[in-house]
Symmetry: D2
Subunit: 306 residues, 4 copies
């Protein structure tokens, strides 16, 4: 259970079976940093190519195809005091005819972060929002493992391997599970958001560089099909696809499997529970693949679980 301090020297803009930057053991912890979505580091200096550059890949010993990799985010926090957002809604989240009524220009906006008090304040340009101040909710927008079939998938998009899911539930304290497809799993992390609304509908959260600490665990022989997660209160599954309907189908199917396989439920029990207790969240409706999360409260599962 070693703790590794890792400083990235280069970054990847796709997730693939690249040479690992560090080999770690099952149970190890890594303390590292991520550049922001535009490739800027904690000094807001360019260190990587824009488009969610990734720190990694980290090779986890013992992880093989057919296993599951668990990644617990021990710490996720912005490491500089300025963040950026896009200032115009994406064309695909409004009625097509309404696109004509939207601004032609898409301004780039600045936010000032108070890291001690955990807030972000809108700074530029001037708008009727004034100095709107919001509580931080730090999350990673893009992270995952090497995809199946020796593919290399752009960090613009997502899939069963994770990637650019932009789901605000992926925050400190969460454990995220990925299907392992390549030897060593090859974990990547990047794209911190200080805050992000559901759907990432302007195409960004508050984009910023992060300090990241995570701990890995290999679940040998555990086979899953889509990313899963859990936090203190919920179990969660995630589907990545277009349209939203299909992302929702992936997530719902995966959560049904989880209840049937690990919670001892029969089909009528599992379906009934989901029917009355499921909660859906929309990760993003901006990226090439959209992301839908669904979850069930652990307090409900405790009523009947073994």
């Amino acid at each position: 259970m070693a703790i590794h301090h890792f400083t990235p020297q280069h970054y990847y803009n796709a997730m693939g079976t690249y040479p690992p930057v560090l080999r770690i053991a099952d149970g190890d912890t890594v303390i590292t940093k991520t550049a922001d979505a535009m490739g800027h580091d904690e000094h807001d200096q360019p260190v990587a190519k824009r488009g969610n550059p990734q720190t990694g890949p980290f090779y986890v010993e013992g992880a093989e195809q057919g296993d599951t990799l668990a990644v617990t985010f021990d710490r996720l926090y912005p490491n500089r005091r300025i963040g950026y957002t896009n200032g115009r809604l994406a064309a695909n989240v409004v009625d097509p005819e309404y696109v004509r009524e939207m601004p032609m220009q898409s301004p780039w906006c600045e936010w000032e972060l108070d890291l001690e008090n955990g807030t972000a304040t809108f700074a530029k340009p001037e708008t009727k929002l004034g100095r709107l101040t919001l509580p931080l909710r730090p999350m990673l927008g893009c992270f995952g493992v090497a995809p199946a079939g020796e593919q290399a998938i752009s960090t613009a998009t997502s899939g069963p391997h994770g990637g650019n899911m932009d789901y605000k539930g992926f925050e400190q304290g969460a454990t995220v599970y990925f299907p392992v497809e390549a030897e060593g799993a090859l974990l990547f992390v990047g794209d911190g958001h200080a805050i992000q609304g559901d759907g990432e509908i302007v195409g960004t959260g508050i984009e910023i560089s992060f300090d990241v600490q995570f701990t890995v665990k290999v679940l040998k022989g555990k086979r899953i099909f889509w990313p899963r997660a859990e936090n203190e209160t919920h179990i969660i599954t995630v589907g990545n696809a277009r349209p939203l309907d299909q992302a929702l189908q992936h997530a719902t199917t995966e959560l049904t499997r989880w209840l049937l396989e690990d919670y001892g439920l029969d089909p009528v029990g599992a379906h009934t529970l989901l029917g009355q207790c499921i909660e859906y969240e929309i990760g993003n409706v901006f990226d090439p693949a959209y992301t839908v999360a669904c979850k069930v409260a652990k307090s409900i599962l405790r009523q009947f679980a073994p």
Copy 2:
């Protein structure tokens, strides 16, 4: 501001320009009852045709095309002790190939309600859930006004006029706004759910008859395009369409309009606020038209609103 006690004698399974059952004034309150989705009343006796039979229509004096009708739910509560759910996931909410793995039979399930303590307990058939007990969250699944163009639209589906939206935010304390298309608005109410998960993915909430008390208000000359709502904490808009992507576009466009028109925001301000603060909820992914709600917290709006 009269209070009307109204006992339904017949019900409608579509929303259209039918002869009103009661004429009420702007500001009046109605205390009435709704049958459940199968057409059973508070004694679980058949009184209406199955398929979300509606109490109404109520003619609101002074409401004309181009106005908005506000309906506040003063009270929404089940009025009997047994509710029903479907026990199998709808085929369209899981991966298409997974449909083959699901049960061929769709059992009908019973829940016992403790109206004093506000809980529902799963009673039949026997499953691994045992006597799962959940807190009530009463809501109306299907209600709305007469649609545009003298249409009569089945209560199976929904549209700009409301209808079968199956969104759990439509609960006691909420005020819902509809675009008025017919003289008198012609308000219908029905389809109470004691509890419903997001998406109504088994095709039902806990279906039950309700006591309903509501108060109406006409906003003269106020023009909206999709249902809006507000409660103590949020302003909300709703889009009804397939696929989910389009329902989301309708809701997002309507919320953008609301911020621009009534909160004094400029486009960059409105888009930025939505980008970092919007919350999406999925009403239903079961009915012919799906329902997506989006909302913003009033606590945020208070930072800059006039």
Copy 3:
């Protein structure tokens, strides 16, 4: 087998259970006229409300819920020399971001018809197309029967009852089949297009008034779920829904049923035939419900059909 000459006096902009304008017997023929989509007649004079006003409804004696109504278009031809089109692509048929690059104005265009030689020539405004001349392919964009459940559905959209399908296969010589839901079926016809591209992607065909002659036949006890059709060369089914994927599912399912029920095929045979021989056509991607047609050549069916 009477032939009725019917001159419309008023028109409907929804399809519902309205009082019939004419009662006809099974086997009868009707010769009538339709106004264009804007409500103009053969003299280009306004006679009806815009939005695909319908001639009818025609009550067909003997037609009851659970039957199928067959409508053969004996003659469909424009009856004036000027037609109109919209001159800008609908926002929903291009990439959302591309909407910003399209013209802000949507010009109204005129076409001159040569009814003797069967061509239409682009006349106004001036464009680089010059006097583009195209062969006529007359079709009805919007027609159908009263929908289920005593609904009244706007002629802007479509469903199992037909409606605004805007499919160019609905032309002279075709026989179209509808599920009967109301007593007498209640047939409506309207919305002639002299020519229309696939998808009706500018929102119009060449809109024009028509002479229409059709013959009806009741198929007692024949139950179908979506419109079907046949012409000299193909059998055809049509699905009306959004997104296109769902319209395609409806059409494909209906064609599968048809092969299994009426052509004596086993599932492997039917699926194999469709897999290698199905042809899809896109009716419209403009209206609230999109339309997908699928078809199989009769020359193939003759190889094994009884």
Copy 4:
């Protein structure tokens, strides 16, 4: 203008920036072979991994990012006498609830090819189709170039780089255009279908090994966004995405650009032409990304083109 005879020794199941198997000059012709989708060669012997294994990549000298690669299929023909199809409709092409009514088993079917007369005859298993005989229409299901950003994309799916488009218009005589993203373009070819219905709705055409002859041409500085094609009668664009609606948007946008850039049309002219003359075809609705083609007849373009 050399002619290269190339015999593949190994195959790729993804399209990426792999070491080229052959370097060819602009204008050269290649005569080679492709294995079938299951990885079987002209003797029906396994030579590659299943999943549309590709012959190539071919490095085309002078092709760089920002150029367009033109590939003309001089010859595409099956090179053995047995082909295979799947015998059950994919779950995603029928109504979700109808999936429950379909066969649980998906039989593998054999077809005998008469290469001299150009027909395929259904051979096994026994069905009510008997020995259904269809004319060959040979096409390549999966081919393309290295995608952008050094990605490696599975041959199960498709994108701007081509890939598994399964569109029956990609046949002998067609010239297909791809955006070049990697140095040398890196062209791959594979996945021959002796026949395929629209949509590839059983998940296969008649899968078979092919003789392939193609000629390349580099269009320096010509920038396109999606695959384009032309044959004797039409110009064609292709969009690859889910849902169908988005694939159609990509194709329609690309065809609009083509008319504006290369045919001298103004927006109203281009939009009007597409509105009344566009033809849509559905490539596949089976693969992870669906494919929609749209096209315009050259006979129409000749009326006004320079």
